[in-house]
Symmetry: C2
Subunit: 343 residues, 2 copies
């Protein structure tokens, strides 16, 4: 596995250098994931044809399915033998997809860059409404599991995600955003769903309370690590591997940890650069390269990844509560996969 | 009460001519509604201050609170003695408010008319996200009632509302929209929540299945009647009493029953007028008056209101299953209030 020291450069290692960390989990619950995908297709159905059209544009585009995989993995870890984990995993993916659809609308600058996001193809209105539909579908699926505790966990996570997104909106374009405020945003907008995805996998298996808490903490720390790596990749990834444009956050003035660190450690001239490009959004052709140079100078990417490694370690530790075995190894490998991933 | 014949003119009677139909229900459950309002304020709270700010802009703006009133009234009708109907009524209002926030974003032309909608004051992004938050809060409230059946009813209603909104998006600006397609849209986008609001009031009181079904049908028919009157008022109301602009639907090219009827009964020249103003949205200063004139000529408003009266009668009939008394009278009066309302 690529070490954090190796990752400290402004460019991350290629996929070839990373352990295939999701493969273990896929080997263990691949059959279940197939069932999840079938459930997703089935549940996207609506008599209003535009709904499955738009939803499948995003859902079928693939993605890592990391959140439903976590639900399946957690259920496996807790020895679950029933079939409801499949419904739950589909439900987690629906909540995630609804969030993405609304994000694409909220994130107006995505509209300007020629990416074929759903809102570009079908308009903002349809994206908002289909997001609402998927969100409602998620709750219908939860009702089918027949467990109020699970509904509570996912309703709480959904409220927290929305809070985190609003918080992110408030901190956007403010270069003086503190590291704590940033961590607060990513804990809410990203880690809350990772955390809930893991906990419900245990709860459906009727695991002891201590294990449910450990799964929740595992998910939260993994989620924070995941977003930290995402935010580093937005400045440091190989564009082709990333599958989206490098520099999206920069163009939007989204204040992530790499910017916070480079700004805090920067000279007055450098801070003026960040304020111009990130607060006023007054950007010139070479500004992204300039930003990447400043991040390299101040070790901003390396330290963001170091932070991710730290949260990854915390996630690892939570797994100690569970018996050793394939499922535990597979979930541990997801943490390592995240630390080493390049897209 | 103003009769349908009286309502047949292009202008509706003033409030003074209508029975104070909500007063009976308010007299019966006014104390509960006070508790609902307190619950709403309490549950809008978030550590992210923008959320209660934006939400209260809409929630505290008043409105008739007709949906939560229906939940309270249905619970009363079924002899409910507990306190969970207050949570449920708040939850119904949250779902409604979330829908309104997203509607304001979807309904782009509202942005152009100087109304201080939440999206105008705080932007589309915040409106989408706060809508998501309120929707999540609604499900958190439902979990607190501890009844999966209720969660199922409201999750189904939410999915149906979203389907209806997408359907409305598809039929917008299409003057050839059939009456059936229009009824389909309003059944989903409006009547589904009226219907669920009534049913959950009975279910929380553990009423017999036949009564729950009757409440659902009462709500559905009342909801359809409510939307029909709304759509008539958008062309025929006294602007000051309506509290929003007359002609909103016209300016947006929203194809409602008055337009469908006037188009169907119109000459070729008149149809060309509707296609120009509603499909191409090519509108001139006197076009709204022209539209109102054509509706008067073809009895389009009168017949829309006649249709509302019909669904009102269907709603009335569902109440026969319940014992006579104050609660039944109060719910019957809501139907009459709707038929006679001017805003």
């Amino acid at each position: 596995m690529a070490t954090v020291t190796q990752l400290g450069a402004a460019r991350l290692p290629t996929q070839a250098g990373a352990k295939p960390g999701l493969d273990k989990l896929l080997g263990l619950v691949g059959h279940d994931l197939e069932a999840v995908n079938q459930e997703i297709v089935k549940r996207m159905h609506s008599r209003v044809a535009l709904i499955p059209q738009l939803a499948s544009h995003l859902v079928s585009a693939g993605g890592k399915r990391i959140r439903p995989l976590l639900t399946l993995g957690a259920a496996k870890l807790c020895g679950y033998r029933g079939g409801k984990h499949v419904l739950l995993a589909a439900c987690v993916e629906f909540i995630h997809t609804a969030t993405l659809l609304h994000d694409d609308v909220v994130d107006e600058s995505d509209l300007r860059r020629g990416n074929a996001t759903a809102n570009q193809v079908w308009g903002n209105q349809a994206s908002v409404l289909v997001g609402d539909f998927l969100f409602s579908r998620a709750f219908q699926l939860m009702v089918e599991t027949g467990q109020l505790e699970i509904l509570g966990i996912l309703a709480n996570a959904s409220a927290t995600i929305a809070e985190g997104e609003v918080l992110q909106l408030i901190t956007a374009n403010d270069t003086s955003t503190a590291e704590e405020a940033y961590l607060d945003v990513i804990s809410a907008k990203t880690a809350a769903l990772f955390s809930a995805a893991c906990r419900v996998g245990g709860v459906i298996a009727e695991c002891p309370a201590a294990q449910a808490d450990a799964l929740e903490s595992f998910g939260r720390n993994l989620g924070i690590a995941f977003q930290l790596v995402d935010d580093a990749l937005d400045y440091a990834a190989d564009q082709a591997a990333l599958g989206k444009n490098v520099g999206d956050d920069f163009r939007e003035g989204k204040i992530t940890l790499p910017v916070i660190l480079a700004y805090r450690r920067g000279t007055e001239d450098e801070r003026a650069f960040w304020r111009r490009t990130q607060e006023k959004l007054d950007q010139r052709p070479d500004d992204l390269e300039q930003a990447q140079g400043l991040m390299a100078k101040h070790g901003a990417i390396a330290d963001t990844l170091e932070r991710a490694r730290h949260y990854g370690l915390l996630a690892h530790r939570e797994l100690a509560l569970f018996p050793a075995g394939e499922a535990r190894e597979a979930l541990a490998a997801v943490v390592d996969f995240n630390t080493a991933r390049t897209h």
